[in-house]
């Protein structure tokens, strides 16, 4: 039963500093959802709470419920490791493993989860690189170091690495903010393609990007989800004054 992600009363802290306040939201399956807002408003924290990466930071904690297709990600006894396999993540700065080849980077998630079968690994790597629109560019240099690729290629390598383990959701934290316009366009094209297979939640500080790729958009301000609606609505007829101020560039 694919009913997406339901977030119920999610709050998050770094030490005693509360950075998310009672967020409620339903994120639909097979859609791209964008998260926008001024920097420091809690966008990264919000998506990191979805796959339990928030708690990796010493002193950080979260409270509330996150239901992934009905299952509470924060239920007692739930192993964050299994959650992270179902909800993959791509970061702002491309971060391929520098000691590994292109192939090994993409295979890393499966290998370290215990997959040994070479044929299965090859198939998964080729599929993931294909999904990330990188296969044609690297198929002849799978043995090259992942760090030797261009920035845009590295980011697509990271996307392939996240896809290889077969997640149901892909979280992207400003995935193209370190890239040039052409590499950015490739990533956006790729996101629209990925939508057919899985949910995508993308944080972006670029409102045009949200308008181009997202079906739904949420606007965060000071740790609160101010407004969540269809992307077109957010950009043409926002209901909240603060959203309007932000998208018309009056602050942020």
């Amino acid at each position: 039963m694919a009913d997406g992600i339901r977030v119920l009363s999610l709050s998050a802290w770094f030490g005693s500093q509360r950075v998310l306040r009672n967020v409620f939201v339903n994120i639909a399956p097979n859609e791209v959802t964008a998260i926008i807002g001024p920097s420091g408003c809690g966008k990264s924290t919000f998506i990191r709470c979805l796959n339990r990466m928030h708690e990796v930071v010493p002193g950080a904690r979260a409270d509330g419920r996150v239901l992934l297709n009905g299952e509470d990600v924060y239920a007692p006894g739930t192993d964050p490791v299994t959650i992270r396999r179902r909800i993959g993540m791509v970061f702002q700065k491309p971060n391929p493993f520098p000691t590994m080849s292109v192939f090994d980077n993409v295979a890393a998630g499966l290998r370290l989860a215990g997959v040994r079968n070479r044929a299965a690994l090859h198939e998964a790597v080729e599929r993931a690189l294909g999904q990330a629109a990188l296969w044609d560019e690297v198929k002849d240099s799978l043995g090259k170091s992942g760090a030797s690729l261009s920035g845009g290629q590295q980011q697509r390598l990271c996307i392939a690495r996240a896809l290889a383990v077969g997640p149901e959701v892909l979280l992207m934290d400003e995935p193209s903010s370190a890239l040039d316009p052409i590499a950015t366009a490739k990533i956006e094209e790729l996101i629209l393609e990925l939508k057919k297979d899985l949910m995508v939640v993308i944080v972006t500080h670029n409102m045009q990007q949200a308008a181009r790729v997202a079906d739904a958009t949420g606007f965060f301000l000071l740790g609160e989800l101010v407004e969540f609606a269809r992307t077109r609505e957010i950009f043409t007829s926002p209901r909240d004054k603060r959203t309007e101020d932000y998208i018309t560039g009056r602050f942020g």
């Binding site: 796959n51 990466m53 990796v56 010493p58 490791v81 299994t82 959650i83 992270r84 396999r85 179902r86 993959g88 993540m89 970061f91 700065k93 971060n95 391929p96 493993f97 520098p98 000691t99 890393a108 998630g109 370290l112 989860a113 170091s145 760090a147 030797s148 990271c158 690495r161 996240a162 383990v165």
Partner: protein, 279 residues
């Protein structure tokens, strides 16, 4: 324009000074190496590497037992000290228990500052006395104790240098933390860790004091690890204070071989840790 001229002048001056400073750093090494070559070069021959020491007064002979002895001692020390130092360093870098890591780090720094002769006395008390005899094992343990804090601190520093973003990338793939450390963090820090281990080996290769009452030295082949064993620094010391010219030459040759050994270790470390694609 005069401003630019002055800046150019200062730039040239500073470049010269930096080059001079670099030269001054390398100079002692070059002088020592040249001096050893001059004094001991003639005594470095096939015999030196294949013969046992000759009885007192007889010319000729070599230091094969001391060369092999030093390798055995370094091997023992590495076998005991490297795993302990590396594991402790990993623990220090990864543990979130601030107080315990502070304590371990502090004790390691203290241990690093303990004079090596004191560590020799310690090994004498806890290994030589209960075993009722000097032994290669006691020497190896003394050297291992000297190595541990060096390896521990370099391992910790190198592991800490691994960018948090790599750790996060691995964790976000759904890889358990211990596997992230072993398969992503350690390989990334490997080059630095190997260098640290080599520095530690080089550091103990020349240690003499802690071997005086542990390995003790031996004019013949050692019969087992529970027996006294020869070592290059001990042999150099014994030959240098003896009244024979031939022995003096051999002591210089021993020093030359010791330095060459350290040099070789450093060189191997450099090549072993080069990543494909440079850097």
């Amino acid at each position: 324009m005069t401003n630019l001229g002055r800046r150019r002048l200062i730039d040239r001056l500073m470049r010269r000074l930096a080059a001079l400073a670099a030269g001054l750093v390398v100079l002692p090494l070059v002088v020592i190496f040249g001096f050893l070559l001059y004094q001991g070069g003639t005594a470095v021959n096939l015999d030196f590497f294949t013969q046992l020491p000759k009885p007192v007064g007889e010319p000729g002979g070599g230091m094969v037992n001391a060369i092999v002895g030093s390798l055995v001692l370094l091997g023992l020390a590495g076998l005991l000290g490297l795993p302990a130092g590396i594991l402790a360093g990993l623990y220090l870098a990864e543990s979130r228990d601030r107080r315990l890591t502070w304590l371990v780090r502090f004790l390691a720094d203290v241990l690093n500052g303990v004079p090596s002769i004191v560590i020799g006395i310690f090994a004498y008390t806890v290994v030589v006395l209960p075993m009722r005899g000097f032994s290669a094992l006691a020497g190896g343990i003394a050297l291992a104790i000297i190595m541990i804090p060096v390896v521990l601190r370099t391992t910790e520093e190198m592991v800490r240098l691994v960018p948090a973003s790599l750790r996060e990338a691995a964790l976000a793939l759904g890889i358990p933390e211990w596997k992230v450390i072993l398969r992503v963090v350690v390989p990334t820090a490997r080059a630095g860790m190997v260098t640290g281990a080599m520095v530690a080996i080089a550091r103990i290769a020349g240690e003499t004091a802690p071997l005086l009452f542990t390995a003790f030295g031996n004019r013949f082949w050692h019969q087992g690890l529970d027996e006294p064993i020869a070592a290059l620094p001990l042999q150099i010391f014994a030959y240098a204070i003896a009244p024979y010219d031939d022995w003096h030459r051999q002591a210089w040759a021993g020093a030359l071989v010791l330095i060459a050994l350290v040099f070789l270790v450093s060189l191997v470390a450099r090549f072993a840790t080069r990543r494909p694609g440079g850097a």
